[in-house]
């Protein structure tokens, strides 16, 4: 990790039954994926209130990943369909707020797809790194103008786990 490289902060919402286990499996299988994603487990992707995503973005996240079971494989039958509909509508709404669709991504991953999970997270981190920081509070404070980011200051703020 180079000193000046922007390290995005990404919040990931995983479902208990498939995608969290996929993340677990990725760990067990020593699949590497960048530590930029902070995972939060929900019982189901259908539990995801769009307010969670807004809160994350407003609170300093550069992107949000939502993960769930593949269509047809939801532990609660069809709640992942609901999650998909919410996600697609939320993305359209966020576009009007000037937030790139790439900053909110949905991944389907079954409990057996640890490798896929790691690969998808890798891709998203790189995409968000290319987009640059979101820093929403500064956006509002600057009346929508993209603030000039001081990467060193950004790193200084970073809390190490």
């Amino acid at each position: 990790m180079s000193e000046n490289q922007f390290e995005p902060l990404i919040i990931g919402f995983t479902c208990n039954w498939c995608s969290y286990r996929a993340a677990d499996l990725a760990g067990l299988s020593r699949e590497k994926y960048p530590p930029n994603v902070r995972l939060m487990r929900l019982m189901c992707s259908g539990r995801l209130d769009p307010a969670f995503v807004l809160k994350a973005l407003q609170g300093g996240a550069d992107a949000v990943i939502i993960t769930g079971c593949h269509p047809g494989e939801c532990h609660y039958l069809e709640q992942n369909y609901k999650a998909l509909r919410r996600y697609l509508l939320l993305r359209r709404t966020l576009k009007q707020f000037g937030i790139e669709p790439e900053r909110v991504q949905l991944i389907w991953a079954s409990a057996a797809e640890g490798v896929r999970f790691a690969a998808e997270v890798n891709k998203i981190v790189e995409r968000v790194r290319a987009l640059g920081p979101l820093n929403w509070r500064a956006v509002v404070a600057a009346n929508g103008d993209h603030p000039v980011h001081d990467l060193a200051a950004l790193h200084a703020e970073e809390v190490t786990a």
């Binding site: 307010a51 047809g72 998909l84 509508l89 709404t93 576009k95 009007q96 000037g98 009346n143 993209h146």
Partner: protein, 342 residues
């Protein structure tokens, strides 16, 4: 400054349409009670007062100030600060003061784009010299000044502390009277006032609770704009594919719009305990969209079908945050985001 012992009432408009004043005057014969109970200290819509009158009042001189309108210009902010200083109780009156309302929809674009539309690029505008108002104009007689037009529209409580909030665009007359009566009883008879920070003159639950339309299981295959269909007069409008915000909106109005066939616009703001009205609306309507059973396992086909349904929702952000933009979690658009529409 009269001193007849009556409590002092003020009502001021910032960035608003004037409808809130009309709604206060629309409490019918109770307006006589308002006059009997209160001494009007400042109310530019109905009586001749000057700002210098207010400046001359001692701090806390005004017992109740009903402040309507959003904070759009430096003048709005200055008046909000002045009235806060001069008032014992400051009430955010109506949707603009509470959460930005229609003026705050311009937070979805830039100040430059707003001025451009108003003064230059509009079929009804004739402005060959392309004059845009300036905060300072140098004239032979001296400098002329105008208030600063802010980039972001704010709600009253984002500028000064607010004691109570009455939602609505405009608040309903019967609700206004209930609040005025409670305040008068508090001031004159020492009756307990609602806890500071309360939202008064409204219900805690959604508009649907007050709506008499029949509700069944919702399966929405597409959305319609109001001119596209004649809705059934007895069945839930959302069920018929008309965008009705009642499901995510605080009640208290008596569900007036849905009862006459127009989906709830959302003017009473989010229900008790909800921070972001738009997020709740996204949750709610995405839950009742129905794209049928075929192709459910084909992930790409499924996404296409949902996208086709979503195409029938015009301007989602402007619809879901029509009244609550300034108070929403994101508050405004990022002017140069890559996803920018305009």
């Amino acid at each position: 400054m009269s001193d007849n012992g009556k409590p002092k009432l003020a009502m001021y408009w910032a960035s608003s349409c004037g409808g809130c004043e009309i709604s206060l005057l629309n409490i019918h014969e109770h307006i006589l009670d308002v006059d009997a109970i209160f001494d009007i200290a400042f109310f530019p819509c109905i009586a001749d007062f000057k700002v210098k009158d207010v400046v001359g009042y001692p701090d806390g001189y005004i017992d109740v100030c009903l402040f309507n309108g959003a904070i759009r210009t430096s003048e709005n902010e200055e008046m909000a600060r002045l009235l806060r200083q001069k008032s014992k109780v400051l009430v955010a009156f109506g949707s603009c003061a509470y959460e930005g309302c229609i003026p705050a929809l311009s937070n979805l674009t830039t100040r430059e784009a707003t001025l451009n539309t108003v003064y230059l690029d509009n079929p009804t505008v004739d402005n060959p010299e392309r004059i845009i108002p300036q905060t300072v104009s140098e004239m032979p007689e001296g400098d002329l000044t105008l208030p600063v037009f802010y980039h972001t529209v704010k709600s009253l409580d984002q500028v000064v502390p607010v004691d109570y909030t009455i939602p609505g665009c405009p608040p309903e007359p019967h609700q206004i009277w209930t609040v005025v009566e409670a305040v008068a009883n508090g001031l004159l008879k020492g009756a307990p006032l609602p806890p500071p920070g309360s939202i008064v003159g409204a219900e805690k639950v959604a508009v649907c609770e007050e709506c008499a339309r029949e509700r069944n299981v919702k399966h929405i295959e597409r959305f319609y704009r109001p001119y596209e269909i004649n809705p059934d007069p007895n069945i839930c409008l959302l069920e018929q594919g008309l965008m009705c915000m009642g499901i995510a909106t605080r009640g208290g109005c008596g569900a007036l719009c849905p009862l006459v066939g127009m989906g709830c616009r959302g003017c009473y703001g989010p229900v008790e305990g909800v921070e972001d009205q738009g997020a709740k609306m996204i949750t709610a309507i995405a839950s009742v969209m129905d794209v049928g059973q075929a192709g459910l396992h084909d992930e790409q086909a499924l996404e296409k079908k949902i996208d086709a349904l979503l195409d029938t929702i015009v301007d989602p952000a402007g619809t879901f945050y029509r009244f609550s933009m300034a108070h929403s979690m994101l508050q405004r658009t990022r002017a140069n985001g890559h996803g920018r529409n305009n």
